[in-house]
């Protein structure tokens, strides 16, 4: 058989292949030749063949049949053979293959070889692919080599030790004595690998960390020598002496100085020196500065040093080099939590980075901008961010939109600004807004009572032009359904009211229903909105009836169900229709994840949730909700609380199912987490006639009695939901003058949930001649002791009075 071709030839041949198939063919031919050569046990050419095999492996072709050949090469006495054998072992073998254990003996012998290069090869291979068994067997040898005076071997042994520690952490103590003298070396190679070894040990074990803290002065000295020493040709990189070692030492200092005052103090000087003396014209200098900044921010450095670090980052931001700007933005993001004010100073530069062409930089700048928004700069920042939203890539739009919503919610200077911002986001990036944003927005809109007319007008104008952006259309349909009467009556204070007729409104909602671009969810919104308008509009009820009945035979099951139910409302239950389709009450913020949490204050034990009811003057719809209560209370149907949205068709079905469906669809259908907590509770209130409760015989208490105002609490426990306590308060006035504009507010600890229903009136007549009653429901799932803080405001004798009190005397039966 002719001598196998050399690697050089093989590479040349493969290069000439013009297609992938041709290359594969060549390689397969060569593999076959190599295989037959291996079978012949040819010692002379084995080295060459394995080399070719390794090249083919690198290109992505399987080469497992060469593994045993590698072992044979390792066992050979020739250095050239051993070299290729070890290389092959590193590339082809790992602990997954059983054959690797056969190497252990070879490596052991080679670790004690007379030639340092062979020893070096063995150390390299062990440090690359040694399994835990091999490491355990050979750790002793490695440790011996770590103490040798030969620097070539010492540095390789240190890296091998790193690998051993990674594989078998228990062996760390074995290497401890050898590390004593490691830092005394002059050779940079040994120094570098020793620092790596020390870093690894410190990261893995807190005891080691404490032990090595005493090395800080020595490390500081080494670093100082590196900086101060003159030009050294073998270590110079663009004018700086061994930057790689400097970076490593800085990193080790970072780990040692974290959370430790003494070490941090010892480092202060050297860090300041590095920060000021390093040349920044080349990338090398900037790399060192970057590492220094990271170290300063991580240890307990003094404030002057921290300011220096942030200023360095600020300088980086102004640099022309993209890499440096990217690195600066990344570090600023890490530090913005701790040194907020210092980073604020660079806000304008960061905002400029939003306009950069580079995608990575833009993303970093966007994240950093959101972190920097606060009450003072929110208007300016929002303008920039909205402009960014207009022009950024689609992959950013979702994150940017969510970020804008969060920031707007936290820092909105006025309700109108908030709504304007939301509108802007919906119209520019409407299709990228996350699904859970829709219910949050709707809740926000219901909360800003005075803006309803303005909001609905703007939303109407927005979808008039374009109704393809689903979240926008969903919010708009919901609002039009709720506030359509405000829209047609043209009563908007904030801007020029537009003239809209009822038919025009119905036109737009119908086009949403018909359009191909509308998702099923959106169609559901639109249909419900049309239905709600039947009570708010006066002249188009017949048109609405027609639309609703058409969809009774829609292919979409969801739409069909709704249409059929609404039809039933028109026919059999027409007397209920006005009450059922009344304005939604102001929704509470539920304490779940998302924007709701931001409104909460910290601290588990503090009272966190303050529940207010809108002033009685705006309570006309809520009073009718009370009528609704009476309505249900008066009926004889046994309360059934649907735990999930009912899926059975409800044509002429039970009253409760009808109510349940409407209630759930009145709130957004997407049914995200915040809402799931609500339906059982709301339904609980509406379907649980208070009169049905067992009078548990809980004693009533006087919660407050001052200045002639007396408030009494009476308790009832709901028998279907044992963690709900229903408290009825009665406020009476024993003075000679009436108390007017009486508002009762209550707050409970975070583990509770509170629901305040509307009071009977806002005037407490004098001389105890009448009382105000109000119902409070408290959900107490953890059965903790009930505590409540109450706030009372009222007008009495011409002056406004306000008082805060804590109610602690709840009887145990009310919450156990």
């Amino acid at each position: 058989m002719p001598a196998p071709i050399r690697l050089r030839e093989l590479i040349r041949t493969i290069r000439t292949a013009r297609t992938q198939a041709e290359e594969r063919e060549m390689i397969q031919k060569e593999c076959a030749a190599i295989r037959s050569s291996f079978r012949e046990e040819d010692n002379t050419y084995r080295c060459r063949n394995v080399a070719k095999l390794l090249y083919m492996h690198m290109l992505g072709y399987p080469a497992h049949f060469g593994q045993l050949e590698c072992l044979k090469l390792i066992a050979s006495q020739k250095f050239t053979d051993k070299r290729i054998g070890y290389l092959g072992a590193m590339l082809l073998l790992d602990e997954r293959q059983d054959v690797h254990l056969l190497m252990t003996n070879c490596i052991k012998n080679d670790l004690n070889h007379s030639t340092q290069y062979v020893q070096g090869l063995a150390l390299c291979t062990l440090g690359c692919m040694g399994s835990s068994e091999m490491c355990r067997d050979l750790a002793g040898e490695v440790e011996k080599l770590l103490k040798t005076s030969n620097s070539y071997l010492r540095k390789k042994a240190a890296l091998c030790a790193v690998h051993v520690i990674r594989k078998v952490p228990e062996l760390m103590e074995m290497f401890l004595p050898a590390t004593k003298n490691l830092l005394n070396e002059k050779n940079h190679g040994v120094l570098h690998t020793s620092v790596v070894l020390l870093t690894e040990m410190c990261e893995r074990s807190p005891d080691m960390l404490a032990h090595f803290r005493k090395l800080v002065p020595q490390l500081v000295r080494i670093l100082k020598n590196l900086i101060m020493s003159g030009y050294s040709p073998e270590h110079d990189v663009s004018g700086i002496s061994d930057p790689f070692l400097q970076v490593r030492i800085l990193r080790l200092l970072r780990i040692l100085g974290r959370n430790d005052d003494d070490s941090s103090e010892a480092m202060n000087d050297i860090l300041a020196q590095v920060a000021t003396n390093t040349e920044t014209s080349k990338n090398v200098g900037n790399a060192i500065l970057y590492e220094t900044v990271l170290t300063i921010m991580d240890i307990k450095s003094e404030s002057g040093l921290r300011v220096l670090a942030i200023n360095i980052l600020g300088r980086f931001l102004l640099n022309n080099d993209k890499n440096i700007r990217y690195v600066a933005l990344t570090s600023l993001l890490k530090t913005v939590q701790t040194d907020h004010n210092a980073v604020q100073r660079h806000r304008s530069t960061i905002v400029d980075c939003l306009k950069d062409l580079d995608v990575s930089i833009k993303r970093r700048a966007m994240e950093l901008s959101f972190a920097l928004v606060n009450g003072n700069n929110v208007r300016g920042m929002m303008k920039e961010l909205l402009y960014f939203l207009d022009s950024c890539e689609p992959e950013f739009k979702a994150d940017c939109a969510s970020g804008i919503f969060l920031a707007a919610e936290k820092y909105a200077p006025s309700k109108r600004w908030h709504i304007d911002t939301i509108m802007r986001v919906l119209t520019t990036a409407g299709s990228y807004v996350r699904d859970d944003a829709v219910p949050n927005l709707i809740q926000l809109i219901t909360n800003s009572v005075e803006m309803h007319a303005y909001t609905v007008q703007r939303l109407y104008k927005a979808i008039l032009g374009d109704y393809s952006q689903q979240p926008l259309v969903q919010v708009a349909s919901w609002c039009i359904g709720e506030y359509g009467d405000l829209l047609v009556s043209g009563q908007c204070e904030e801007e020029e009211p537009i003239q809209v007729t009822e038919d025009e409104v119905l036109d737009i909602l119908e086009s949403v229903l018909i359009s191909n671009m509308s998702a099923s969810v959106t169609r559901g919104y639109a249909l419900t909105a049309i239905m709600k308008l039947s009570t708010r509009f006066t002249c188009t009820v017949n048109r609405i009836k027609k639309v609703v009945s058409i969809y009774g035979s829609s292919i979409d099951v969801e739409l069909q169900q709704r249409a059929v139910e609404y039809n039933a409302l028109f026919k059999k239950y027409d007397h209920m229709r006005p009450a059922l389709l009344e304005r939604m009450p102001v929704m509470e913020k539920v304490t779940t994840n998302g924007p709701a949490e931001i409104v909460q204050t910290n601290g588990e034990t503090e009272t966190a949730v303050l529940e207010t009811k809108p002033p009685p003057s705006g309570l006309q719809p809520a009073n009718q909700a009370n009528d609704l209560l009476d309505l249900l209370g008066g009926s004889d149907i046994t309360p059934v609380i649907p735990t999930a949205p009912p899926s059975k068709p409800a044509s002429g079905g039970e009253l409760l199912d009808l109510l349940g469906d409407l209630n759930l669809t009145g709130s957004p259908v997407a049914a995200p987490a915040p809402q799931i907590a609500q339906p059982p509770f709301l339904l609980d209130g509406l379907t649980q006639p208070l009169f049905n409760d067992i009078a548990a015989g809980i004693p009533s208490i006087t919660a407050y009695n001052k200045n002639g105002l007396k408030i009494e609490f009476t308790f009832e426990r709901s028998n279907t939901n044992p963690s709900v306590t229903v408290i009825t308060i009665q406020a009476s006035n024993s003075t000679e003058l009436d108390m007017t504009d009486f508002v009762f507010q209550a707050a409970v600890p975070k583990t509770f949930q509170l629901q305040l229903l509307s009071p009977s009136s806002s005037v407490i007549p004098a001389f105890n001649s009448g009382t105000i009653t109000q119902v409070i429901k408290v959900l107490n799932p953890q059965k903790q002791q009930l505590r409540m803080r109450i706030k009372l405001t009222y007008n009495h004798k011409g002056s406004a009075m306000q008082d805060l009190a804590e109610v602690n005397n709840f009887p145990p039966q009310s919450w156990q």
């Binding site: 690198m58 070299r83 290389l87 930057p243 790689f244 990338n283 790399a287 993209k322 890499n323 990217y326």
Partner: protein, 116 residues
């Protein structure tokens, strides 16, 4: 920690690859193809660090050859950028004319192994 070190040409052919973590052989080719795609789509004024899956790519272009290093969060990106240049300088001194795809570089793959 450095995850891998690649030298890939503009056409996507791998000239050198070294993985420091186990990656399946078929996944390697896919990874290399994706990585080179990411690097080729960058323009001159964009920075040399790309966020890719859960690690970062630091790349540098030398004529028709891309050198790409995959690192994780603990590494200093700028230092690795400098390391790549250092590596090329060393090869240049040792073999002369590294930048062009001469056979010298690849045929001395044995010597290259010493650098690991």
């Amino acid at each position: 920690m450095i995850k891998f070190f690649l030298m890939v040409n503009k056409q996507g052919q791998t000239r050198l690859s070294r993985y420091y973590e186990h990656v399946e052989i078929n996944k390697r080719t896919m990874l290399e193809a994706e990585v080179i795609k990411n690097c080729l789509s960058r323009s001159k004024d964009e920075c040399s660090f790309i966020e890719y899956k859960d690690f970062k790519l630091v790349y540098r272009q030398y004529a028709a050859l891309f050198i790409v290093v995959g690192i994780d969060q603990t590494e200093n990106e700028m230092a690795v950028y400098e390391l790549i240049h250092n590596f090329v300088e060393v090869l240049d001194k040792y073999f002369s004319r590294v930048v062009s795809e001469t056979l010298n570089l690849l045929c001395n793959i044995f010597s290259l192994s010493k650098l690991w």
